[in-house]
Assembly symmetry: C2
Homo-oligomer: 187 residues x 2
DNA sequence: GTCTATAGTGCGATAGAC
DNA sequence: GTCTATCGCACTATAGAC
């Protein structure tokens, strides 16, 4: 019992379940741990704080974003590079994942503290993308502008993707939102 | 002594002072309160949590942003409206305020929890600006794109404004960053 | 103003994997 | 035996309830 594998994943699943039914603040870290046969102390061994249990594992997503970025042709413009990154990132959210993403987001949308954490992760993503663009030779403030714009486009596209009744793929939506961004600059 | 006015402002000043010298986490809410002759309970009567003491009063800034937005000519494009809002917002940071802004930002930059709060406030700003744009008849996702872009431009300009050795006004910097954003769409 | 629950930390002990 | 995940306990600070 003590040595069952996948402690982290079990904690994450149990936490999401409890947050969805009881609410984030009405769920204690002790309850989450106990619900999978662990102690509160072990919860904090895996997650630096209570909110992090919902965000741990985002590195994969960041890596996808950066991967698409590196795959962009060398002569691509900053925004074209961002378009590649968006395509690559969108691939990490196939349509089967929509129900799960919806559930997770509905928990986040109900709690300001979780929104703060989400926005912080997004900001970190933009910082990493900007750094990667600078390595490609893009100067400031263009690199940061392009990176933040990419994060914004992804955020808007993702929100639309999980909306009830939406059927388009995330990549399709993101590409359309990016097109709208281009239009913004020339009315 | 007990009813000395300006309790909130004194708490904010003392908190910034203590955070800057000792660090945010090394300062307790009780210490802040006692340093101005109040109790911890009173601190939490004025601020919903420890971090908020650094952010309380941002409404003025939001109002400045929205004020510039309403002052924009009716036929202006979304990005032109955002440009007006940026001008108006920049006016709330005259050059005399640079030293204070620098000190405050250096505290925030040293602590992830404070960065989360700052990003959350920024996100709230973008939401309000997007809503105001929709009222003006701008559709989605353009309204949100323009609003988030405005927030991004302001953030980049502000970071540059408080950099050591920078002498240009915030409005000048913001206008140049906005120009870069326009260039992003057409290479 | 007082009291209490919860989050989160530090350290040492323990139990299983190898 | 070593290594590492888990546990137990004592503790502080935040924040909210009363």
């Amino acid at each position: 019992m003590r040595w069952e594998p996948g402690a982290r994943e079990r904690l994450q699943a149990a936490a999401l379940e409890l947050f969805a039914t009881r609410g984030f603040e009405q769920t204690t870290t002790a309850e989450i741990a106990q619900s999978v046969g662990l102690t509160e102390r072990t919860f904090f061994r895996h997650f630096s704080d209570k909110r992090e249990v919902l965000f741990y594992g985002q590195d994969q997503f960041l890596q996808a974003f950066l991967g698409g970025l590196h795959a962009a042709p060398p002569n691509a413009s900053p925004l074209e590079v961002v378009a590649c990154a968006l395509d690559s990132a969108a691939a990490f959210f196939p349509d089967e994942r929509r129900p799960y993403s919806r559930m997770r987001q509905s928990v986040i949308d109900k709690n300001p503290a979780l929104q703060e954490r989400e926005q912080h992760k997004f900001a970190g993503l933009a910082v990493a993308v900007a750094e990667a663009l600078r390595v490609r030779g893009v100067g400031e403030p263009t690199a940061t502008l392009a990176a933040e714009s990419g994060a914004t486009v992804f955020g808007i596209a993702f929100a639309q993707w999980i909306r009830e009744g939406e059927e388009r793929s995330l990549a399709d939506i993101a590409s359309q939102v990016l097109h709208e961004l281009r239009n913004l600059a020339r009315p």
